[in-house]
Each structure stands twice: as structure tokens, then as C-alpha cells.
């Protein structure tokens, strides 16, 4: 066989090879860079949220010696729950403050009282109701401070403004300094965040109400979406014949998963309005329903559109896993599968449980 002349020379090939390897290195670097950027965003997001939010888990508290005076708390002496709950604990708090820092005029008194949260009396009340033996004793109690003090303790209050523009006056700051030096002022774990619901007072606000609402919505959604999704998946995978109707169902499920969730919200809104004013939506104010005090009105409709939104995607996902699990029964050799059927024990199994 005669040797043929190559189209390009060996040196050219080697030179090109170097270029191609360099291009390979650049491409690989680009891919790694992309992954790095995506992960950096993740770290940035979590880090930022944690950094901005971690201080919410602590709350400023002040330690005051409270005289649980029986003549104030329970003048009748019968330890009735109603009496204990209705007593004037605010007076006890104010007495303790005045004892610590004697004040004369009205302005000074107001500044002193505003150091402590308006929810402090409730802390005392709850303690006494739980343990009436406190009555008559004097105890040191940690009560929540006002939100301005809390912000100062956490470093969010700008203190280098002139006094009339600041939220805390010089006098208040002096008192707080004294308390701090005596060890009676500090940041403690913020249980109110988890046990309280919404409040106008920032230091008393918590997520309990919202968390309950979320849990209810989730439960209703799960109760609706899971059975329907699994039923759909099992039917489409195991039972459905290949005809127009099942195609229609499949197309519909795919579409539903693609619809933005706000459209489901519109559906829920339309259904809610239709149900709550059956005499016509005309004139039914949208706002009125949002103010409905009988909130149980809400939970069901809220779950249904969410359920409808979760349902197709869980139906899709369940179907996807049914697809994946389809591999398992398909892998079973045909005679075994038919034997299974005749055995009357054939129960369609969607394969791997959904993992996510």
C-alpha cells in the first residue's frame, strides 16, 4: 500500500493539540465556576438570612424584685382563678421600678415605666396563676423590656443622635446602664417568639398563630393531595387503557402543574366568594371576607386551592415515580407477572416511595 501524503503536518497536529487541550481546560474551569457560583449563592442566602435573623431568638429582659402583694393580687384571699387573673399586676411592676429608681415628676415616671414591656404584667399574672404560693413572697423576676431597649441591646439603635431625636433619653440610658452593671439587664432566649401570636407590641409578637395556620393548611393539603395524587398515578399507570380520555387526563395533569400558583389563588378566591355570599358576589366586599372573625370559614377553602396546586405536581411526581417503579414490575419476567395475576394477589405497587 503506497503511503499517502497527510493533509496536515505532524507539527500542525501537535500545535493544534495544545490549543485543544487548553480549550478543554478552559471549558472545565467554566463548568466548575458555574457550580461554584450556584453554591456560593446558596451559602450567601443562608448566611444572610441567619445573620440578619439570629438576633430574633433573644429578647432583652430586665430583672426586677417583685413583691407579690396579697392585698393587690387577691384581696378576698380565696385564691379564685378569676381573681388571680384579673388583678392589677401592672401596679406591682411599677412599684418595683420605682423602688429601684425613685422618681418624682410625671415625665420621669413615664420614662421609667416605658423601659419595661407592656406585656410584663402578663408574665407576672401567668406565674401567679400557675403557682399561687408566690403570693406574699418577694421574688426576682425577669420581665421583657420595651422594644426600644431591646433594639438598643441588640445594637440596632443609633445612640449618637441628639437626645430629642433619639428613642431613648439620657436619663433612660443612665438607668439602663445601672441595671446593666448590676447584672439585671440582658438578652435571654425569646420564648415569646414561639408561644405568642401577632401583637401590636413588637416585643410581644410571635409566630404561634401563623404557625398553627400553616400547619392546618398543610394538613388539609396533604389530606387532599396525597390520596388524589396516588390514585391518579396508580390508575394511569396500571389500569388505564390507551384512549382519548386517559390522554386528556394526562394532558390536564401536566398543564395543572405548569399553572402559576397565583392562578390557583384566583380560583380559590372565586370559590370562596361564591360560597360565602350565595346571594350574589355583587357587593360582597373582598375585604369583608378577610376580616371574618369566624376564621374557621377560611381553613377549608384555603386548603382546597393549595391542595389543587399541590395535587397535580404530587400527582405528576407520584406518576413519575410510578413511571420509575414501572421498571420494577416490567423487570419481572412475563410468566411471573401473569402468574401473579392469576394468583389474585396482584396489587399494583407504585415502586419506590417518593423521596425528595
Amino acid at each position: 500500500m503506497t503511503e499517502r501524503k497527510p493533509f496536515i503536518s505532524e507539527e500542525q497536529v501537535l500545535e493544534r493539540l495544545g490549543q485543544r487541550h487548553a480549550a478543554e481546560k478552559r471549558f472545565r474551569f467554566l463548568c466548575k465556576l458555574a457550580v461554584g457560583i450556584a453554591l456560593a449563592f446558596l451559602v450567601l442566602l443562608f448566611g444572610d438570612i441567619l445573620y440578619k435573623g439570629h438576633k430574633a431568638f433573644v429578647q432583652g429582659h430586665v430583672r426586677l424584685p417583685i413583691h407579690f402583694d396579697e392585698s393587690v393580687i387577691d384581696p378576698r384571699g380565696m385564691r379564685e382563678r378569676e381573681d388571680l387573673r384579673g388583678a392589677g399586676y401592672l401596679g406591682l411592676v411599677r412599684d418595683a421600678l420605682r423602688e429601684r429608681f425613685p422618681v418624682e415628676d410625671r415625665q420621669e415616671r413615664r420614662e421609667l415605666y416605658s423601659l419595661v414591656s407592656s406585656g410584663a404584667p402578663f408574665t407576672l399574672r401567668d406565674q401567679v396563676v400557675e403557682d399561687p404560693s408566690l403570693i406574699g413572697t418577694t421574688r426576682d423576676v425577669w420581665v421583657a423590656t420595651d422594644d426600644d431597649v431591646d433594639m438598643m441591646l441588640k445594637g440596632y439603635l443609633s445612640l449618637d443622635l441628639p437626645e430629642d431625636q433619639r428613642r431613648l433619653s439620657d436619663r433612660q440610658l443612665a438607668w439602663l446602664g445601672e441595671l446593666d452593671e448590676a447584672g439585671d439587664l440582658g438578652l435571654r432566649f425569646n420564648t415569646a417568639f414561639f408561644t405568642q401570636a401577632d401583637s401590636r407590641e413588637p416585643e410581644m409578637a410571635g409566630i404561634a398563630g401563623a404557625a398553627m395556620g400553616s400547619i392546618y393548611a398543610m394538613l388539609i393539603t396533604l389530606a387532599l393531595a396525597f390520596p388524589l395524587g396516588v390514585a391518579t398515578a396508580v390508575y394511569l399507570e396500571e389500569f388505564a387503557p390507551k384512549n382519548r380520555w386517559t390522554d386528556l387526563i394526562e394532558v390536564n395533569i401536566n398543564n395543572l402543574a405548569a399553572v402559576p400558583s397565583i392562578v390557583f389563588g384566583l380560583l380559590g378566591l372565586a370559590v370562596l366568594l361564591f360560597r360565602s355570599s350565595p346571594f350574589g358576589a355583587a357587593g360582597g366586599r373582598v375585604g369583608a371576607d378577610l376580616d371574618d372573625p369566624a376564621h374557621h370559614h377560611h381553613r377549608r377553602p384555603c386548603g382546597t386551592p393549595v391542595g389543587a396546586a399541590v395535587d397535580p405536581s404530587s400527582g405528576l411526581r407520584a406518576r413519575g415515580y410510578a413511571h420509575a417503579g414501572r421498571g420494577a414490575p416490567r423487570a419481572t419476567p412475563r410468566p411471573a407477572r401473569h402468574a401473579h395475576r392469576h394468583d389474585h394477589r396482584h396489587v399494583p405497587r407504585p415502586g419506590r416511595p417518593p423521596c425528595s
Partner: protein, 459 residues
């Protein structure tokens, strides 16, 4: 609470029905199970179905109809002056009655309102008691009926299988009903809107300023409902989001499927998926509190005028959220390209990146395009991030440093308002919703079509 109790009782009855049915079948078989047509467990299931289904159907019907019926009874017993009120006032009155019956007393009610509330409450209570009796009675009746019908030749397995199939089919049709419901509710309200504002003005108008008169004589209530600024705002933010998500997502997918070792892939893939699992509210927070101010500061330092709610901030964060969508869809598609093509390319002396660029990527292209289209439809429909990070005023611009508003933001602000539900302002939200629905649907259908048509059949 009552409902929960009833459901638990029904479930308990069903389990006992299973036991009863199975036992009866076994007893009839008299020691020789072969004489039965089906397995004993099928007879048990047969009994369960007879016990559960009639009771459940009645329960559902009752739950949906009872409130209306009770309301109707209470209304018809109201004094004449109440019945002659306008529908709006009557609706509020009914709400009052219901609240009173639930124990929420706002005081200052006339005696007949209190009476009506009493009647409502006692009717509901009687209704609940009747519900319990009827449903449980039906369950017991069904069980007895099934037990009586069980005999050796009963083809229990056929009946059971068919019933279960029908039940599953009904469950599947819920998806169809939901779609129909969405389309109908959107269409209905949107048509009412288009009766007040012509379709052409809505679709092609350049000014979006949805104010309608609160009172008949109010000044400055001329509303313009031209939605083009909203569309451009949506497209701008989605474009920025895709400009971030597509390169990052695609290269991530290529890395994970071609270059990464198994351990690296096992670590990186779940981490990237976490990005998809974060609630969009958190992203919105991040965008509004961190990204937007940072961009503003950088812009100021560079001498540019960056709005505090720039489209860039919202688009950037939305892009981060969409990375996992593009990444996992592309990953699946790239993995699906058969290895034979790659090996052939290596055999010809190509480097890995050349193989990817010239062989794998073109082969996977239809799937990738489909995935990108799905991601675009997600970006268009995204609500929370833009509600928190994007502006409220409609602004027709292509400058990413300005504040724009999107379709979804306007839908939210229009509905969380204090307007009458009848006004054009609130109804425009439904019109916007209809447009959004249609557009995302079209995108998804096209994506599916592209993937199906151009996909190479490799196996």
C-alpha cells in the same frame, strides 16, 4: 372536630367490616377454601366497600349542601323587612347571624337577629346529630347487606377490582375538573371585565393606572387599563432571570453529568436541589433586604442611578431560584444521550469538551430547549419574589436599573384591596390571570411539543 370523629368511626366500621366479611366467607367455605370463587380477603374488601361507599357519598353530599339548606331555612323565617333587603345587606346580615351562632358577639343586635342566630345554631346541631345517625346507619346497613350477599359463588374479586378501578378513575378526573374550574372562573370574571374595558385597550394600551371611582362623584377616577407596561415588566425581569439561570444551570448540569465523580455529584446535586426547595418568600426577603440595597450602593458608587426596587435585583434572585430547574432538567436529558455517541467521538480523538460541544449538546438540545421553556414559564408566573422586590408603578422601560412591575404583582395588589368586587379595578386582576394562564399554558404545550417532535429515538 365532629367531622374527625365521624371519619374515625367510619374507618373503624370499615375495618370491622373487613373482618366480618372475611369470616363469613371462611365459614361458608367450611374448611375447604377452594370452593370459594375468590380469596377470603376479597370478600372482606367487598364488605368494606359496601360499608364505606354509600356512607361516604352521603357524608360528602350532606357536608356540601347542609350549610346552604340551613341558611335557607333561617332566612325564610326572618321577618319580612329582612327579606326585602338588597342582596348585599342580606349577605352581611347572614354573616352576622352566623357569627352570633358561633359565639362571636359584637353587640347591638335586634332581638330577631338573636332569635335567628339561636335557630341557626340549633338547626346546625340537629343537622350534625342527624348526620351522625344517617351516616353510621348507612355504614351498618351496608355491612349487613354485604354480609348477606356473600356466598360461595359470589365473584367478589371481579366486583372489588372494578369498583377500585372506578374509584381511581374518579380520583384522576379531579385534575380535569380543577382545570375546568380554573378556566371557567377566570373566563367568567374576565368577561365581566371586558364588558367595561374593551379587549384591545387592555391588550394594546400603554398606560396602566387602575383607578375607578369609589363614589359616583369622585374626581380623578379615570382609570386606564393598558397592560403593555405589565407585560414588558414581566418580560424584562424574566429575561434577566433566564440570563442568570440558563448559563449557570446548563454548565452545572454539564459538570455534574460529564465531569464530576460520583462522590462530588452525590454532594453537589442535592445542594443545588436545595435552591429549589427554599420558599420563594425567603428569596423575596433576601432580594428586598440585601440584594436591592447592595445594588443601589454599588450603583451609586459607580455613578449610576439605581432604583431601590430595580428589576435587576428581582431578576437576579429569580434567576438563582430557577437554576435548579434548568440544571436538573438538562442533567436528565444529557444523561439520556447514549454513551455510544460519546465513545465514538472519543474514538475519533476528540477531547471531552469537544465531544460535549459537538456531539452531546446537539443531541440533547431539544430536551434542553424544552426545559428552558418550562423555566421561562415558571419565571413568568413567579409571584412572591417580585411582590417583595419589584415596584408597584407600571413603567414602560428596558432599563434593568429602573423599577418595573409585573403581571403577578398587579394581580396581588388589586385583590388585596378594599374595592368592591364588582369594579373594573378588581376584575382586571382576573383578566390578567387569564392572560397569565393562557401564556404559561402555551409555553408548556410548546415545550412538550418541541421535546416530543425533535427528540431522537435512541432505544
Amino acid at each position: 372536630m365532629n367531622l374527625l370523629l365521624l371519619s374515625l368511626l367510619l374507618l373503624a366500621m370499615s375495618s370491622s367490616a373487613y373482618v366480618v366479611g372475611k369470616k363469613r366467607a371462611l365459614r361458608l367455605a367450611d374448611g375447604n377454601v377452594r370452593t370459594l370463587h375468590s380469596l377470603p380477603s376479597h370478600y372482606g374488601t367487598y364488605a368494606v366497600l359496601w360499608c364505606l361507599i354509600p356512607a361516604a357519598v352521603v357524608l360528602l353530599l350532606w357536608l356540601s349542601l347542609e350549610p346552604r339548606i340551613v341558611e335557607g331555612i333561617v332566612v325564610s323565617s326572618l321577618p319580612a323587612e329582612a327579606r326585602e333587603l338588597s342582596p348585599a345587606r342580606r349577605g352581611l346580615l347572614i354573616n352576622d347571624v352566623k357569627n352570633l351562632a358561633a359565639g362571636v358577639d359584637t353587640g347591638g343586635h335586634e332581638p330577631w337577629v338573636l332569635e335567628a342566630a339561636q335557630r341557626y345554631r340549633s338547626l346546625r346541631q340537629a343537622g350534625t346529630a342527624a348526620l351522625f345517625v344517617v351516616v353510621l346507619g348507612l355504614a351498618v346497613g351496608g355491612l349487613a347487606w354485604a354480609r348477606q350477599r356473600i356466598h360461595r359463588e359470589l365473584k367478589a374479586i371481579l366486583k372489588v377490582e372494578r369498583t377500585i378501578k372506578v374509584l381511581l378513575l374518579l380520583g384522576s378526573t379531579v385534575a380535569v375538573f380543577t382545570t375546568v374550574g380554573i378556566v371557567l372562573s377566570l373566563l367568567f370574571e374576565a368577561l365581566r371585565f371586558f364588558q367595561r374595558v374593551p379587549l384591545t385597550e387592555f391588550l394594546f394600551g400603554l398606560e396602566w393606572s387602575p383607578q375607578t371611582a369609589l363614589r359616583a362623584d369622585q374626581v380623578g377616577s379615570s382609570g386606564s387599563f393598558g397592560a403593555i407596561p405589565l407585560f414588558t415588566g414581566t418580560l424584562l425581569i424574566s429575561f434577566i432571570a433566564m440570563a442568570v439561570a440558563v448559563p449557570l444551570g446548563l454548565f452545572t448540569a454539564i459538570y455534574m453529568s460529564e465531569y464530576a465523580s460520583k462522590t462530588v455529584r452525590g454532594v453537589v446535586k442535592p445542594l443545588v436541589e436545595i435552591l429549589a426547595g427554599i420558599p420563594t418568600v425567603v428569596y423575596g426577603f433576601f432580594a428586598a433586604l440585601t440584594v436591592a440595597p447592595t445594588l443601589r450602593d454599588w450603583g451609586e458608587a459607580a455613578g449610576l442611578d439605581v432604583a431601590p426596587e430595580s428589576a435587576l435585583a428581582a431578576g437576579l434572585v429569580m434567576g438563582i431560584m430557577i437554576i435548579p430547574f434548568v440544571s436538573s432538567l438538562s442533567d436528565d436529558v444529557i444523561n439520556a444521550v447514549p454513551d455510544g455517541l460519546r465513545q465514538a467521538s472519543y474514538g475519533l480523538g476528540a477531547t471531552q469538551s469537544e465531544t460535549i460541544r459537538r456531539v452531546v449538546f446537539p443531541a440533547a438540545l431539544p430536551g434542553i430547549v424544552g426545559g428552558v421553556l418550562l423555566a421561562v414559564s415558571r419565571a413568568i408566573g413567579e409571584t412572591m419574589i417580585v411582590v417583595m422586590a419589584a415596584g408597584l408603578a407600571a413603567n414602560l422601560t428596558a432599563n434593568p436599573l429602573e423599577a418595573v412591575t409585573t403581571v403577578t404583582v398587579q394581580m396581588v395588589t388589586l385583590l388585596v384591596g378594599d374595592q368592591e368586587f364588582d369594579s373594573a379595578k378588581t376584575l382586571s386582576a382576573f383578566a390578567l390571570g387569564l392572560v397569565l394562564f393562557v401564556v404559561t399554558l402555551v409555553f408548556n404545550v410548546v415545550a412538550l411539543h418541541v421535546v416530543r417532535r425533535y427528540r431522537e429515538q435512541y432505544d
